[in-house]
């Protein structure tokens, strides 16, 4: 690539914001333009369904950095602005309204869009999705004690919102089309634990429940299921997943698979264009280079680090084990690794204690952990996977020996072999 003097970043979420910051921290003195559709400076999305919804964290503490930092660091942050076209031949980006900007390197951090309920009545007042701070602001007034909330979709966002709503005294029903919550993201055992946990907090679940329509005149009144049941609702929140925002990339002819396809350097099929965060997929080095699209803070930050380093002509950092967390009630779930393709599990500790870890194996290889209030098991496993090490299931099942000791032993054994 020729000398890079102008970088354009499309998408001012955590991935886009971190890229701009890391370019400046890495000594980049050229132009940086950060284009975001939202009115807010780059902010963290994880608190939206947790402390921001509950009112514990104000927006200024959700922002990654104060807005004036972008001026200080000479980053041209264009807020409430949409990019509508990429001209790859002339390396230009067109903005809504017609203005065009030139780039030497372009970073696509366009994120993902929440799926809307494909139902009659989905446009009624009181029906929401949760992706942006604006989405939360729009629903917050309805979060009053005694209000009837129907959450459609029992994924992490749906369950986090459920936990906040119960703490605030709302009456919550979760409608999930699968036979268990968290069906796509964890094992049946963990799903059972979360189901029991929420049920004990007074949450009603309709599992295997298909929504047929949203009822109401001006405002939502209830959710009709395909078996004829109606669940009363003052507010409905759909947490049924997201679709990667690949429109710009697709129109400009970049290779699309599950999101925008990139290599380990986060480069798309056009070497001048990078794609990072929720909108992109890349080879997972700890998982035989299987191509995955991860929706996580870890992935957003890692993509930003890799793209910034590559643009700066520096070696990218070593990839971390993928990780994720979810807070529900007083439970902290921490996930390290990717559990897809596991063939057996090992439980360490007891679910009844509400502090345990579920380890996932593929053959003899430890590939992931779901840790509940067990940070050592999470961090220990994260370290092991990054080093390509495993601990035998029978050893991990013995909760009497501290995780720290087991990890140290595994590392020692590995170093003796080399």
């Amino acid at each position: 690539m020729d000398e890079i003097r102008r970088v354009i970043i499309i998408g001012a979420g955590q991935a886009g914001g971190e890229t701009a910051q890391r370019l400046r921290q890495g000594g980049f003195t050229g132009e940086i333009t950060l284009i975001g559709e939202e009115p807010h400076a780059p902010y963290q999305r994880p608190p939206l369904s947790k402390q921001y919804l509950s009112g514990e964290l104000p927006m200024e503490r959700v922002l990654l950095r104060p807005p004036e930092v972008y001026t200080h660091e000479n980053i041209a942050w264009l807020k409430s602005t949409r990019a509508v076209w990429i001209d790859r031949t002339n390396r230009r980006v067109r903005l809504e309204g017609g203005r065009e900007l030139s780039y030497d390197a372009l970073v696509l951090a366009t994120g993902a869009r929440p799926r809307k309920l494909p139902l009659a009545g989905a446009d009624l007042a009181g029906v929401h999705v949760l992706r942006t701070a604006g989405d939360v602001d729009a629903m917050r007034a309805a979060f009053v004690p005694g209000a009837k909330l129907v959450v459609v979709g029992a994924g992490y966002i749906g369950l986090e919102v459920t936990a906040v709503a119960r703490k605030l005294g709302l009456d919550v029903t979760v409608v999930e089309s699968a036979v268990r919550p968290l069906a796509r993201v964890t094992s049946p055992e963990m799903a059972g634990f979360f189901l029991d946990e929420h049920t004990s907090k007074g949450v009603r679940f309709v599992l295997g429940g298909q929504c047929a329509l949203i009822k109401g005149v001006d405002r939502v009144r209830g959710v009709g299921l395909d078996d004829g049941q109606e669940v009363a609702a003052d507010i409905v929140i759909a947490g049924i997943g997201v679709t990667p925002d690949v429109a710009l990339a697709q129109h400009s002819g970049l290779t699309i698979g599950n999101g925008i396809v990139t290599d380990r350097q986060c480069r798309t099929s056009d070497p001048a264009i990078f794609a990072i965060g929720d909108c992109a997929s890349r080879p997972m080095v700890h998982y035989d280079n299987r191509v995955e699209r991860l929706e996580s803070v870890h992935n957003a930050i890692e993509g930003a680090k890799i793209a910034a380093a590559t643009i700066l002509g520096q070696a990218p950092p070593a990839e971390e084990t993928p990780w994720f967390w979810s807070d529900q009630y007083d439970l902290k779930l921490q996930i390290a690794g990717l559990f897809g393709g596991y063939d057996h599990t090992v439980l360490r500790g007891s679910m009844a204690d509400r502090a345990f870890a579920m380890f996932y194996y593929k053959g003899e290889r430890l590939i992931a952990v779901d840790a509940i209030n067990k940070p050592a098991e999470f961090l220990g496993t994260k370290m092991l996977i990054a080093k390509g090490l495993s601990i035998a299931p029978d050893i991990l099942a013995d909760a009497s020996r501290p995780m720290k000791e087991l990890v140290a032993e595994a590392q020692k054994t590995a170093s003796q072999k080399t």
């Binding site: 994880p46 608190p47 990780w323």
Partner: protein, 106 residues
């Protein structure tokens, strides 16, 4: 409000006025102090905001909680004065606090 001094592993100092109610981590991140990554934004989920509290201040910052202690067990180059800065709340009592940063958070 508390004046906090962050000292990078290289010795470079950053003096920051941190508002009460925020955490020692947040003040550093908002002023782009290099050496505190805070990937999870303060949810005590990642152990990338590790700092060494100046020994004179240990009485004021208090002891790590049990979750925090478990996380610290896996941080790099942990010492007896290690803390996760997302777990230290800023108050007037911490005016003058000095923390040192490890060589790496990862």
């Amino acid at each position: 409000m508390a004046k906090i001094t962050y000292i990078e592993a290289s010795g470079k100092e950053h003096v920051i006025d941190a508002p009460n109610g925020q955490t020692v981590m947040e003040a550093a991140v908002k002023h782009a102090v290099p050496g505190i990554d805070a990937d999870c934004g303060g949810a005590c989920a990642c152990a990338t905001c590790h700092v060494y509290v100046d020994p004179d201040w240990l009485g004021k910052t208090g002891e790590p909680g049990s979750m925090e202690q478990s996380m610290l067990d896996f941080a790099n180059d942990v010492e007896t004065n290690s803390r996760l800065s997302c777990q230290i709340k800023v108050s007037d009592a911490l005016d003058g606090l000095v923390v040192r940063l490890p060589k790496s958070q990862h």
